[in-house]
C-alpha cells in the first residue's frame, strides 16, 4: 500500500505545463475583446443571411452556426472581467479600421444568387484565420495562469474546425462550373487582401511576437 503522506511534486512527471506564457493579462484581454467583437459580427451576419439564401440545407446550417459563434462571443464576454476588464464593452472592439473594412465587405452580399460569395467569406477566409489566431493564443499563453482562456478557446476551436469542414463541403457541392469557381476564387482573394491589410483578425501580431511595449515575454 502506498504511503499517502509521502511528499509528491505538484506536477506529475508527464505534466509539462509551464508558466509564464507569451501574453500579459492586458494583452490576453485585448485579444479576447477583439475575438468577442468579431464573433458578434459573425453571428449577426449568419443570422441575417438565413433569410437571403434559397438553398434549404445552407439556410439550416447558417442557423445552427449562428448560435455557435454567439456562444463563442458569450464565452469571451464572460472571460473579460476575469482579466480585470470590468467594462466588457470597452475592449469589445475591432483590432483596427482595416478589420472593420474586412467585416463590412464580408457581410455585404445579400442577393439570393450570391450564396457562394457569402460562404467563401466565412468558410474559406474568416474561419481559417480564426482557427490560426485562436491556436496561436492557445499555444502561446500560459497553460497555468491563462488556463480559463485556453479552455474556452479549446471549445471554440472544436466548433471552428467542425463548422469549417461543414461549410467547405457545402461550398464544394455548390461550385459546379468554371464560372462559379472563378467567383469563389475572386471573392477569396478580395477578402484575403483586406485581412492582409488588417494584419490578421487581432491586428498586427495576430500570429507573431507581441510588440515590446505591449507584451511581457519572459
Amino acid at each position: 500500500m502506498s504511503d499517502p503522506y509521502k511528499p509528491r511534486a505538484a506536477f506529475a512527471p508527464w505534466d509539462r505545463r509551464e508558466s509564464p506564457g507569451l501574453f500579459t493579462v492586458e494583452e490576453s484581454a485585448r485579444r479576447v475583446g477583439t475575438y468577442k467583437w468579431l464573433e458578434m459580427r459573425l453571428f449577426e451576419s449568419l443570422g441575417g443571411w438565413v433569410a437571403t439564401v434559397p438553398e434549404l440545407d445552407v439556410k439550416l446550417v447558417l442557423g445552427r452556426h449562428c448560435y455557435h459563434h454567439a456562444w463563442h462571443a458569450e464565452l469571451m464576454d464572460k472571460r473579460l472581467p476575469e482579466l480585470r476588464e470590468m467594462n466588457t464593452d470597452r475592449l469589445c472592439e475591432p483590432a483596427n479600421d482595416e478589420i472593420v473594412a474586412f467585416v463590412d465587405a464580408l457581410r455585404e452580399p445579400e442577393a439570393p444568387e450570391h450564396t457562394i460569395e457569402k460562404l467563401v467569406g466565412v468558410f474559406r477566409v474568416l474561419l481559417p484565420r480564426k482557427i490560426a489566431a485562436y491556436t496561436y493564443h492557445l499555444n502561446g499563453t500560459s497553460r497555468i495562469t491563462d488556463s480559463p482562456t485556453q479552455r474556452s478557446l479549446g471549445f471554440m476551436l472544436q466548433d471552428e474546425f467542425e463548422d469549417w469542414r461543414e461549410g467547405e463541403m457545402l461550398l464544394q457541392s455548390l461550385i459546379e462550373t468554371p464560372e462559379e469557381l472563378e467567383r469563389a476564387t475572386r471573392r477569396q482573394q478580395e477578402l484575403e487582401g483586406l485581412l492582409l491589410a488588417a494584419g490578421g483578425i487581432a491586428g498586427p501580431g495576430t500570429l507573431g511576437p507581441v510588440a515590446v511595449n505591449e507584451g511581457a515575454s519572459v
Binding site: A51, G63, C66
Partner: protein, 271 residues
C-alpha cells in the same frame, strides 16, 4: 446586406409556392365549406380528411419554422448594440439553432406522414410579425404571439399523434413543444426587462401582440370550441408564462377573428 428585409425578399428554392393569407381567408370556397355540417372541426383520426389535414398542417408547421428561423436571424442582425442588448441577441442566436432543428424535424415528419416540400403553398404572415422596427415589438410578435401559436399547433399535433397511434409524431411534437415554451419565456422576460421603466413602450408592444394574435387566429382556425381545428393549449401556455387573463383575452381575440372573417366572406359573397 440591408437592415430590415421585407417579406417578399425571403429566399426560397423552386419547390416553394407563395400565396397571401388574405387570399386563403377570403377564398369563396370557405363559405360553402363552412355551410357543411360535418360536426367538430377538431383534428380527429376518425374523420375521412384527417390524413390530408394533418399533412397540410405539417407543411404549414414546416414553412412556419423556416420563417421563425429567419425572423430570429434577422433580429440578430437588424439592430445595433444600443438597440438590442448583447444578451438579447444571444437569445435570438440560440433560437436560430432551435428553429433550424425544428425545420429539420418538420421535414422528417412531413415525409413520415406522407407530404413533401412544396405540396402546399406558403404564406409569409409569420415572418411579417418579425419585421417590426422596435426589437421589443418584434419579440412580442414572434416570441409571444408566433411561438404561442406554435404551442397550440404542436399540442394539437401531439394529441393527434396520440389518438392516431403515431408515437413518432407524438414524440417529435413534444420535443418541439419544450423549445417553444423556452422561446415564449424569452419573449416575456425581455418584454418585462426592457420596458420596466417605459410603460408606454410596453403597451405598444402588447397592442402589437394583440394584433398579431388576431391575425394568427386565422379567422377561426384557432380557438376553444369544436369549430376550431387548433385548440388553445391553456395548460402549456400557463407553463410558458402566460397568465390566465392573457389566455382569456386571447380566446376572446380568436372569437373576434372568426366573426370578422365570416363577415368579410359574407360581404364579399354579397358584392
Amino acid at each position: 446586406m440591408r437592415k430590415q428585409l421585407p417579406p417578399e425578399m425571403l429566399a426560397r428554392d423552386s419547390r416553394f409556392v407563395r400565396t397571401s393569407i388574405m387570399d386563403q381567408v377570403m377564398d369563396p370556397r370557405n363559405q360553402l365549406i363552412g355551410q357543411r355540417d360535418l360536426g367538430s372541426a377538431r383534428l380527429q383520426p376518425e374523420r375521412p380528411a384527417a390524413g390530408d389535414r394533418a399533412r397540410n398542417l405539417m407543411h404549414g408547421i414546416f414553412t412556419g419554422e423556416i420563417q421563425a428561423l429567419e425572423g430570429a436571424g434577422r433580429t440578430t442582425f437588424d439592430f445595433d448594440d444600443e438597440q438590442a442588448p448583447f444578451a438579447l441577441k444571444l437569445d435570438m442566436a440560440r433560437q436560430c439553432w432551435d428553429e433550424s432543428r425544428h425545420v429539420e424535424i418538420s421535414v422528417e415528419l412531413g415525409a413520415w406522414i406522407g407530404t413533401e416540400i412544396g405540396e402546399y403553398s406558403e404564406a409569409t404572415f409569420l415572418y411579417e410579425a418579425a419585421c417590426a422596427p422596435d426589437p421589443i415589438l418584434r419579440l412580442c410578435g414572434v416570441n409571444r404571439a408566433l411561438e404561442g401559436l406554435a404551442i397550440d399547433v404542436f399540442n394539437t399535433m401531439k394529441e393527434f399523434g396520440d389518438l392516431s397511434g403515431d408515437p413518432v409524431l407524438e414524440f417529435c411534437e413534444d420535443w418541439m413543444l419544450a423549445d417553444e415554451g423556452t422561446h415564449v419565456k424569452m419573449g416575456s422576460d425581455w418584454l418585462r426587462g426592457l420596458t420596466a421603466d417605459d410603460r408606454e413602450r410596453r403597451e405598444r408592444a402588447l397592442d402589437f401582440q394583440r394584433t398579431v394574435d388576431k391575425l394568427f387566429s386565422l379567422g377561426g382556425f384557432r380557438g376553444e370550441t369544436d369549430e376550431n381545428p387548433i385548440q388553445l393549449a391553456r395548460k402549456l401556455r400557463q407553463m410558458a408564462g402566460f397568465s390566465t387573463d392573457e389566455i382569456d383575452e386571447l380566446a376572446e381575440i380568436a372569437l373576434q377573428a372568426k366573426a370578422d372573417a365570416e363577415a368579410m366572406v359574407a360581404g364579399a359573397g354579397g358584392a
